[in-house]
Subunit: 98 residues, 2 copies
Amino acid sequence: MYGLIGKMRARTGKRDELLGILLDSSGAMPGCLSYVIAKDPADADAIWISEVWDSSASHKASLQLPEVQAAISRAMPIIAGFETSIETEPVGGLGLGR
Amino acid sequence: MYGLIGKMRARTGKRDELLGILLDSSGAMPGCLSYVIAKDPADADAIWISEVWDSSASHKASLQLPEVQAAISRAMPIIAGFETSIETEPVGGLGLGR
């Protein structure tokens, strides 16, 4: 499995709008086992995303999906930056079904 | 929902043993929606755990479960430390079913 833990920052006051785009676009992504979108309660513009994929290839392929490309286009103007991006190698747990 | 993203460090060479304990103990935890255990591919002793609970109360209650207390007792001697612990407020995504 392939995992990513990332923190992104919305432009000031745009977090809810960015969350909406992320939630809309986290539908059918082949090979995606978990995709958790969270607010940072200590940082008003920050969003954490924790992802698990069956492989890094599935993650890479997802970025080419039309729905994902459309979401990226909508999101980019209200993203201020990416602050943390950690690759992980998930080994198990709960919530990795489909 | 209540989330935690944490990094812990096993004592040198003990990561696989610690992963085994964590995997064993991530069974029936009431209110746990997601619990992903991952290796850090860039750091030989490091483990990332990403958790989602229906509430912080459920997370707190889980720490009192006999199975979890037993796992903590087994794990403590081979944990070198906790390096990152971030509370989050998950809003949705995939893999949050039971």
